[in-house]
């Protein structure tokens, strides 16, 4: 308990107990909310039994005081009022600004010497890449167990950034190409965003606050793009068909009914589903490549540029490779 209330003839006696600190503000607030000031003419507050009072605790106490004053109840402290309360009044009474810009410097990079070293580095890179994928997966699993951790607002933002704003360009071009364009567009954007956050120490600041950057930065991007890319695929399909229809109708004078029957003959319905199966896989590859390279940025703006380029190249490479694997898979499956 954070509060003991006694009724007297005059009003209320409040005895504050335990720790009044930031971590306990919700409990304190609900305790204070239960204090009924209606019948009281005066409130006397004792703070001697408080074991800790910080600024947030003092703020909660101040809320009670202003509530009491608003209700016309006289408030007195048994003993001196706590210092923190006076500090609070001081802060809320005045303000003063200040100004001037900040700067920082870049370090140098070691040159790579031998093929063996490159091979070792490539191997290590592969391992780290796998670790990254693993960590993203475990974060996802944890997120599925506690959906609040999935950051729906962030996901929505990334659906918007990667999906809606890409509609005009993707609508012009077919599916594989659209995946490649998204790889260039969003893969680079992810890498650049996360990379610059690293340079600004924002990622460190998150970790130092106890926030998992995979949870707030990586996963929303991966899931956002996984939602957006299939939608883009559908739009690309629709605009492709519409474009074809317009072409046939006005250039070749072919009736639309005939076009429709030709389309159903030429395109098996599986073609559509194949695209929709591939899209989320491509999306995951693109987003992972972008986020991975972005978070690898350390200390220099030159690295940022290099890793953004690497992210785009790898995203496109992964998409083409995955498309080839899908082609083999679907051929074996006879679809």
């Amino acid at each position: 308990m954070s509060l003991e209330v006694r009724r007297t003839d005059e009003g209320l006696e409040l005895e504050l107990t335990g720790e009044w600190v930031a971590q306990r503000v919700p409990a304190i607030e609900s305790g204070l909310a239960a204090v009924d000031l209606a019948a009281a003419r005066q409130v006397s507050i004792a703070t001697q039994r408080l074991s800790a009072l910080d600024l947030s605790g003092a703020w909660a106490l101040r809320q009670l005081l202003s509530r009491a004053r608003a209700a016309g109840v006289a408030v007195s402290f048994r003993g001196p009022p706590p210092d923190q309360l006076r500090l609070l009044e001081e802060i809320l009474a005045d303000t003063s600004p200040a100004g001037a810009p900040a700067a920082s410097g870049p370090p140098a990079r070691q040159p790579l010497t031998a093929i063996g070293r490159n091979a070792v580095l490539a191997g290590r890179d592969l391992l780290q890449g796998l670790a990254f994928v693993g960590r993203a997966s475990t974060t996802l699993l944890r997120g599925l167990a506690r959906p609040r951790r999935l950051r729906p607002i962030s996901i929505a933002r990334h659906v918007y950034d990667t999906g809606l704003t890409a509609v005009p360009i993707v609508a012009l071009i077919a599916f594989l190409i659209s995946a490649i364009i998204v790889a260039g567009r969003s893969g680079s954007a992810f890498a650049a965003e996360l990379g610059s956050m690293r340079l600004n120490e924002e990622v460190d600041a998150l970790i130092a606050t106890g926030v998992d950057p995979f949870e707030v930065l990586v996963l929303p991007r991966v899931l956002g793009l996984t939602i957006a890319l299939p939608l883009l695929t559908i739009i690309a399909d629709l605009t492709g068909l519409t474009g074809g229809a317009l072409l046939c109708r006005y250039l070749l004078d072919m009736p639309l009914t005939q076009y429709a029957s030709r389309v159903t003959e030429a395109i098996a319905s599986t073609t559509f589903w194949v695209g929709l199966v591939k899209a989320p896989v491509f999306a995951v590859l693109i987003a992972l490549a972008g986020c991975y390279r972005g978070l690898q940025v350390r200390e220099s703006a030159r690295e940022l540029g290099r890793l953004v380029t690497v992210a785009v190249v790898q995203a496109i490479f992964c998409v083409i490779l995955a498309d080839a694997l899908f082609a083999v898979l679907f051929m074996e499956m006879d679809v």
Binding site: V21, A22, Q23, V25, P26, E29, D54, L55, S56, G57, W59, D83, L87, L88, I91, L92, T95, S96, P97, A98, G99, A100, P101, A102, A103, S104, S196, M197, N200, E201, E202, D204, A205, L206, I207, A208, T209, G210, V211
Partner: protein, 252 residues
Amino acid sequence: MLQVQGLVNRFGTQVVHDGLDMEVRADEVFGIVGGSGAGKSVLLRTILGLQRPIAGVVRIDGGDITRMSGAQLRSVKAHYGVTFQAGALYTGLTVLQNVQLPMIEHLELERSALQELALLRIRLVGLPAEAARKYPAELSGGMVKRAALARALALDPRLLFLDEPTSGLDPVSAAAFDELVLYLQKQLRLTIVMITHDLDSIFRTCNRVGVIVDGRMESDTLQRIVDHPHPWIRAYFHGERARARRGAAHGA
């Protein structure tokens, strides 16, 4: 409050820390000084758990953070605040949202309490209320530092780490920032660990100073450390730049 014992950090063949010991006592302002590349930032990153040391112990409030699980570390992190050199404000969020983020992560507050407690921190560091709605890119360097301080104070920590708090500020703003740090230290009874190059800042704010030399730390009170025989420490405190400032020593 904070103890580092036998810390070893190495990158490849480069030895950064070679058995570094450090102790910070409650309610003091402890300055960390060292040449460029002496490993001040690496030390801070190790203490914050951003980097695992090769050997050594880092105790915050008694617990060894190098041996903690993720969940334990998370609760330790709720008890200290950090400001990074360039501010490290989240660029996509306003100042108010920046201050609210740690609160949202660690406290279960009502929306109105969240708003008021965050605004309180912003007023506390001397930022005007209008600054709350601004994005980091719209702030001056001095305001960024103050906003970062407001965020570091979001959870009412007892322990505060400041990484080069006055770097990049003009002397007037730097002095104002030092005063703010001292004011907060007294009013909120904070223990402050401050990395700095700024001699003015050291003489004005620090009770004790630890100098990183040769991968170890020499620490003592400000009055005594200036007369330490190590050549680098002598050069640091008795060089051209230092001589003019010695008269202004704080806390004598």
